[in-house]
């Protein structure tokens, strides 16, 4: 059985945008524009429209996010329970990798 962290990596070049979207939705539903603004503020990366909706489609297909009814011509998305688990697992994995990297830098 694949680990949750592997599942996110299975999105290929969309795995990083997908992770940023999951992080953006972790504090509540957002529509596309709010996501790009939040992601830019958090990571400094501005996702292009093709990349954003390519990642959103993949996350929807995996059922890690789900669309909500349209509000003012914008459709918000929210994290599903499965998406939360994937995000937690990925962040835990990144935390472990970061810890090792920082400790190795300190030793060197």
């Amino acid at each position: 059985m694949r680990k949750d962290t592997d599942l996110l990596a299975s999105l290929g070049r969309f795995s990083e945008p997908a992770l940023l979207i999951l992080i953006s939705l972790a504090d509540g539903p957002k529509h596309g524009y709010a996501m790009t603004q939040d992601i830019e503020a958090v990571s400094g990366q501005k996702l292009g429209p093709g990349t954003l909706y390519g990642a959103i489609a993949r996350l929807e297909e995996k059922e890690w996010i789900e669309p909500l009814p349209v509000e003012d011509r914008r459709r918000p998305y929210r994290l599903t329970n499965a998406g939360q688990q994937i995000l937690k697992a990925r962040l835990e994995s990144l935390r472990a990798v970061t810890k090792i990297g920082v400790s190795r830098l300190a030793e060197g």
Binding site: Y33, T51, G54, A57, E61
Partner: protein, 173 residues
């Protein structure tokens, strides 16, 4: 170049699902070179990526609620029936088979009864539609389980009528 013109390069189903959102995101202004390249790459991805195509199929746009498109949605979903949401369980299969058998028996019995009381043509019609009718009526319990009621009616209703019509014509020839 604007997002509206680049959006024409995307598959129709993709545009129906995400087009309005994307236009709302980027607005009517001309795109930067980076955004243009990103949208071109996105168009290629939308055509060739199975997961993106599957997502678009699974999330119908508001327009796709209309009858004709619902039938197409159903057919597309049938072609991706390995998805867990539409996977037929053993229990569904058994119920479907039971409905098929029961409906076949009821139609055949009705045909035999009609024949015994002298309604020969009605008897022939009932007997000839017994099996295809039973197959159709068993579909909502099996292969069409989970589909919207309206989609089931759109597919099954006209097919049932066609079979009945064909039986009537066949008995009169």
């Amino acid at each position: 170049m604007t997002a509206g013109s680049l959006l024409k390069l995307y598959p129709r189903a993709w545009r129906a699902r995400y087009g309005a959102e994307l236009l709302q995101l980027v607005g009517p202004r001309a795109l930067s070179a980076q955004q243009t390249f990103d949208m071109l790459a996105g168009a290629v991805d939308a055509w060739i990526s199975p997961s993106v195509r599957a997502a678009v199929r699974r999330q119908p746009s508001a327009a796709a609620v209309k009858g004709g498109l619902m039938v197409r949605q159903f057919l597309l979903k049938c072609s991706t029936s390995n998805h867990t949401q539409y996977r037929m369980t053993t229990r569904d299969g058994l119920i479907s088979a039971a409905v098929l058998l029961a409906v076949s028996l009821v139609f055949t019995a009705a045909g035999i009864y009609a024949s015994s009381v002298g309604y020969t043509m009605t008897a022939d019609i009932l007997k000839s539609i017994a099996f295809p009718g039973a197959v159709l009526l068993s579909m909502p319990f099996g292969v069409m389980k989970g589909q919207p009621r309206r989609a089931q009616l759109i597919v099954l209703g006209p097919t049932m009528l066609l079979i009945a019509l064909a039986s009537v014509i066949a008995t009169r020839i």
